[in-house]
Amino acid sequence: MKAPDFAYVRPASLDAALALLAEHGEDAVPLAGGQSLVTALNMRLASPRLLVDLNAIPDLAGVSEAGGQEGGQEGGFVRIGAMTRHRDVGTASVVRERLPLLAAAMPHIAHPAIRNRGTIGGSVALADPATEWPACCLAAGATIVARGCHGERRIAAEDFFLGLYATALEPGEIVTAVEFPVPGPDAVWGFEELSRRHGDYALVGLAATGRRAGGRLTDLRLAFFGVADRPVLARAAAAAVEAGDVAGAQAALAGEIDPPDDPATKAATRRHLARVLLGRVAGRLREDAAPIGTVRGGGLDGV
């Protein structure tokens, strides 16, 4: 199918893009990687009057480490520019070394041709509940950086994803970066996803982070995706896993997720698959998860 008629503009600066979005209001939509938006246009699910293409804005892409001390000590963070392509997020050396959760999640995002073009900022701003980056943001305690005409805002991932395709972004604001705290040397992580075909949207997925000191798991964050209208932190299940009770965690999960019931996949199936993923990830986190510094280029899920 073919896209409806619209105008297009490719501003050369962030300020120019924000001015255009402010000037045109709801008629204008920012265009990042376009791997969801152009689909929506082609299928006539969206009909904006103006596309404001962010692809020519310098410095909106790239991965850098800042703050804290060198060597990944507390207080540092990895800043990923909004226009960084999925593939470049997952292959960046600083991501592979400091944020192996993201490196493990990247190959699950659609297919190579989509990963070459789609961006982390676009994915986060779209907030599709079956996608990987929002759940990773939630599990890793990321901060979403947004810019509007009136300046910059920093929004915790927990406060950012509000519902189906709904975020805390105000009209006229765009995501400029996502910042991930650098995990300490005792950090562990896990990532699992089930889909019908490799690269399809997740039936159920789980992104997890935590710390392991003296054989004990603490600060465990289990972010499930594909099970609700947004990524969900399963707090009671995490507490049970920390206490060493994986079966109890799987039981607790029933009260924490309310999966959608659709013609292809019943809610009960998703609940079951979520318990399966929890069992796999929790088992590995407790037993053989290597400290984060030793999982470069691989890890629980492989890269």
Partner: protein, 170 residues
């Protein structure tokens, strides 16, 4: 840059299969239609037009992308290669021979996208290009004839032959 002001039609200039080209393109036209309609490159096959089937896969600045999920106006300033360009340059001759030899062509509709997707994988000399990796990579390209085993065979054969040639050359 003409596209710095909002408009429904824009002038674009880019490198297409090694040649500098220019065109005027409606903003709503995706790159697949621009390549087929304006430049006659009908090897860019359009299937689903929402990024799922992979038949329209081309290289933009050396990377595989869906021509249906990029606007024609966004090609401005880029280097675009289609299956025609890859064929004329001879860069995928071995891959095409392997598709023929392994009966991986079948109806041929998905073939250009399969070739471009495989070309990107095979161009990365650091990739293992194991059968498992090949399967993961071409999972983004549908073959309605279900010729997958033959396609995996052809790509794996080419990967192995290229590996052997590299090792012999060293």
């Amino acid at each position: 840059m003409a596209s710095e002001s909002p408009d429904r039609e824009h002038a674009v200039a880019f490198t297409l299969n090694g040649e500098a080209v220019r065109a005027r393109v409606p903003a709503r036209m995706h790159l697949g239609d621009l390549l087929r309609g304006t430049f006659g490159l009908t090897g860019v096959h359009l299937g689903c037009e929402h990024g799922v089937c992979g038949a329209c896969t081309i290289l933009v600045d050396g990377r595989a992308v869906r021509a249906c999920l990029m606007l024609g106006v966004q090609a401005d300033g880029a280097t675009v290669e289609t299956v025609e360009g890859l064929t004329e340059s001879g860069r995928i001759g071995d891959l095409q021979d392997a598709f023929h030899a392994r009966n991986a062509l079948q109806c041929g509709y998905c073939t250009p996208g399969m070739l471009v997707t495989a070309a990107e994988l095979l161009a990365d000399e650091t990739a293992a290009a194991s059968r498992e990796e090949i399967r993961a990579v071409i999972s983004g390209n549908y073959c309605r004839c279900t010729g997958y085993h033959a396609i995996v065979d052809a790509i794996a054969t080419t990967a192995e032959a290229r590996r052997n040639r590299r090792e012999t050359a060293e």
